[in-house]
Symmetry: C2
Subunit: 450 residues, 2 copies
Amino acid sequence: MQTDHNRIFVESIKRLLRRGAYSHLNKIVNKTHAADLAAVFPSLTVDQQQKLFEMIGEIEQKGALFSELDEDAFLELIEVLEFDEIVRVLESMPTDDAADIIGRLPEEKSQAILEKMQAAESEEIEDLLRYEDDTAGGIMVPDFIALREDVTAREAIESLQKEHLDVEMPFYLYVVDEYGKLVGVSSLRQLVVVPPDTPLKEFMTTDVFSVQTDMDQEEVAKIVARYDILAVPVVDQTNRLVGIVTVDDVIDILRKEATEDILKMAGAGEEFIETKSVLKSTRIRLPWLFASCIGGLLASVIIGHFQTSLSKLAYLAAFIPVIMGMGGNIGIQSSTVVVRGLATGRLHIKDIWSSMYKEISIGFILGAFYGLLVGSVAQLRYGREMLALSVGLAVVCSMTLAALSGSLMPMFFARINIDPAVATGPFVTTAIDIISVFFYFVIATSLLGL
Amino acid sequence: MQTDHNRIFVESIKRLLRRGAYSHLNKIVNKTHAADLAAVFPSLTVDQQQKLFEMIGEIEQKGALFSELDEDAFLELIEVLEFDEIVRVLESMPTDDAADIIGRLPEEKSQAILEKMQAAESEEIEDLLRYEDDTAGGIMVPDFIALREDVTAREAIESLQKEHLDVEMPFYLYVVDEYGKLVGVSSLRQLVVVPPDTPLKEFMTTDVFSVQTDMDQEEVAKIVARYDILAVPVVDQTNRLVGIVTVDDVIDILRKEATEDILKMAGAGEEFIETKSVLKSTRIRLPWLFASCIGGLLASVIIGHFQTSLSKLAYLAAFIPVIMGMGGNIGIQSSTVVVRGLATGRLHIKDIWSSMYKEISIGFILGAFYGLLVGSVAQLRYGREMLALSVGLAVVCSMTLAALSGSLMPMFFARINIDPAVATGPFVTTAIDIISVFFYFVIATSLLGL
């Protein structure tokens, strides 16, 4: 639905541009949400982008567009904009968004922009740029409402009317002591409900969740999601309030991390690459396939080792795919459950033994079921009991060991602090290929006396 | 971090329960967030759960605990609670959460509870239960602030002080006409900033996003995420305001959908099953493996067909795993990129041709690279040019066709309205197994003249 709507929107923008219907376009551009406008830009030529951009009346809307554009689209657009215009737009943006954008620019360009910007604004941005990108400090907004605890509800409301007009999330009022340390929180809601002369300290909540600047952004997102809050205050190591992380940024983080996890498990890079070029996608995927190539070649060495048995009983080869396939698929099931469990916090590395025990049991039960099935098919087809038994046992072995390694490997990687999503994909399938082929031939040659 | 903290918390609760340190426990229970308390419950016996539950002083805290508990844990707990107590707690809860819980209970029990509840409350709940679970109507809260457009800022603030005290998201004030139809939105922030005598219609925003009760919850979540809003109003077919969906529920939906997509692609069910029993997990995974079993058996039929060639040249079998593995892995990469692209709205079924073209190109380039590599290894090992050439060409074929089917299948399933995540996993790997083996043997037997 959403995407259909976008497509129609892109088509009409393009048509209006072709027709030169600028006054009509002007109206549309200034009535459209920046997120929707940003979705159109990648489908336009740079000239067309520049035309649309110049039509935007409010500078805040231009800033919102900067934030909403993909990195590639943004870098393309600013090439054709005037330097002074870029600086003006950045100055009008919320500090965290401006810092994000400047952090992505080439060193040279970002320095030039920071020098040109108003001192106060550029200092705040440089402060933000000191924090790692994916920490609470890197994603926080330095604009928030902080008041002292003896301020009354009326005074607080007055201060909202005079200052703090550009605060992004004006629903929480943070209460700080004389050193700027966080001591409580209140809400705009409470301000209008209590008698006007009540000081903040009498109705503020002192039990306030906060995070430190160096906390990983995923942890921050989990806290906001877990406690259903709209913003979480960020403090430095001395508990001084330095910013807030808002729920809209948390949503972006959660979605991005989920996509990253999915892509990493498949060995298809970290960021969504469908929009990237063929060569870029190829480069990203190439190394992940290397593990499976090595695994496959090792399996070929193992099979080569049993060459004499194979030439005596050629149809032994016929069951290689089903044994590898069954092992591979249950291995992916197990590793996916464990990787996602670790990512969402439902599983922990300390659960390693119970999780292993469970996966081995599941692998063995399913292995017994499918081993019987595949073994029976082998018996019906070739009528050799020992071959059927070998195939059946190989399926049991392969599936049990695949479930085991599928659950063990992500736990192992998490333990040595390697992202389990990125490491698991190629390793699990490679390991299973080798294990499956090895056990199949060992079992078959001994049972069949080859 | 978070999980470590939980574990320590569970241990100390258990220790205090064993010691019978009830006054200490009492303090802890009443100072802990319901989300954290809920995380402890599954590790306790039902008796211990009951003891902790009785210690909770505020009835709202009991309600919050009900909401935070997993379905299984909740059903276990209410078995030991008194019926009247359950009804009292449900009455104190936000209507959407109470409706969620009642909707999950067995028919008999839910009827008894609804009859016992206060009429107004139970009517609201029955209204909510009419909507499908996964639509805007099913997840909305029926408590919101709706005012008429001639109400002034001062009157609006007064009404906040007297009524609307239990509204979950008091940051937006919706403006409705005499028929209850949504005409605008304002914020608590604006109320305190404008002169007190200004009527709402002079400062409200008339450009308000809204969704209809039957919109799918994923679409609702995408809108809230896209436009960075804290709540979206829900209207019926006549544009009458009937509820709002808040950002905290949106976060839960986005996380759940991401987990579901990941698990479905791996054929490991829809819900997170790590916490479920071995037998339950086994039952969920069994059918997904069936596709790969059939695929493997079909591959064995194909190989059986080339049995004579195999007995002449046994080491032909040695390269089956690497050819299948390379195809399987690139197929998973392609299908993952497409499935996730469709889910996040970055790809659309109409992009089918451009996406196919891209994937074939990537598959061919990577296939050429790895085909050369694997072919060279084959040449070094066996010193037969035609074997090396066959293996190399089979890798190119397998990887190109795998990338093609990996991108085509999810698109195809999306087109016929079958969830691509659920259908793609087993089908892609099965198709690739068969394709890889078939092309390998066709190429090898013709090149080697077997």
